[in-house]
């Protein structure tokens, strides 16, 4: 049973566009939701994270929107650039952080 469901599987946008990646979870005990960016041949890099006590968090061009009642959260990339082309993973964890559940990933291609 997949704890975190991610969509879409792939995404193509033009430079300057705003790609949106969505994730949904079932376990209401989750209270930490990070996003990771992974380039080919590299390990995932922590991008931004949110807790359920806020509905939105911004860091630079990256924004997480969180809907606790719907058990959904999403990543928005403002003014996307070709260098943002990578695979993005959402994840979820309980407060004790002893296990992270990852989504299946979204491959983003930002065209020049």
């Amino acid at each position: 049973q997949q704890q975190v469901k991610q969509s879409p599987q792939s995404l193509i946008v033009q430079k300057g566009g705003i790609p949106i990646i969505n994730c949904a979870y079932e376990n209401t005990a989750f209270d930490y939701f990070p996003w990771y960016q992974q380039f080919p041949g590299k390990g995932p890099a922590l991008l931004i994270a949110i807790r359920p006590d806020v509905s939105e968090k911004k860091e630079g061009r990256f924004t997480i929107s969180f809907n606790k009642s719907a058990k959904q959260f999403s990543l928005h990339i403002m003014d996307s650039q070709p260098g943002d082309s990578a695979t993005y993973f959402c994840a979820a964890s309980k407060h004790n952080f002893n296990k992270f559940y990852f989504g299946s990933g979204t491959k983003l291609n930002v065209k020049p």
């Binding site: 991610q6 890099a45 993973f89 964890s93 002893n98 299946s104």
Partner: protein
């Protein structure tokens, strides 16, 4: 500062063999977690160790084992390798798994294991 380091980078093994993968966490980090990432999928949790004790275990068979050393480095061992064990094995470290933001995980580059 050095990030999480893993060795070896790549490894080719034959079915039935044993493999040991190594991880050194970020300096000051006391927790290490291991993940398996099959091509095209998200990482799957295998183990977490904190202060040399196992704190969490994922749904992997007993062929998978790990340990953490006094210097907080860690080893992942896989016995009786199967073709399906071919994957990128990722190590992540964190400062303190129950320390709020200190629980954030930072990943190494991974070890690419190919089983033939």
């Amino acid at each position: 500062d050095a990030g999480v380091t893993q060795s070896p980078t790549h490894l080719i093994k034959t079915r039935g063999q044993h493999v040991t993968l190594r991880c050194s966490p970020i300096s000051g980090h006391k927790s290490v977690s291991w993940y398996q990432q099959v091509l095209g999928q998200g990482p799957q949790f295998i183990f977490q160790y904190y202060e040399k004790e196992e704190r969490g275990r994922g749904n992997f068979p007993d062929r998978f084992s790990a340990r953490q050393f006094p210097n907080y480095s860690s080893e992942l061992n896989v016995n009786a390798l199967l073709l399906g064990d071919s994957a990128l094995y990722l190590c992540a470290s964190s400062l303190d798994p129950e320390g709020g933001l200190a629980g954030e995980q930072y990943f190494g580059p991974g070890t690419r294991l190919t089983v033939t």
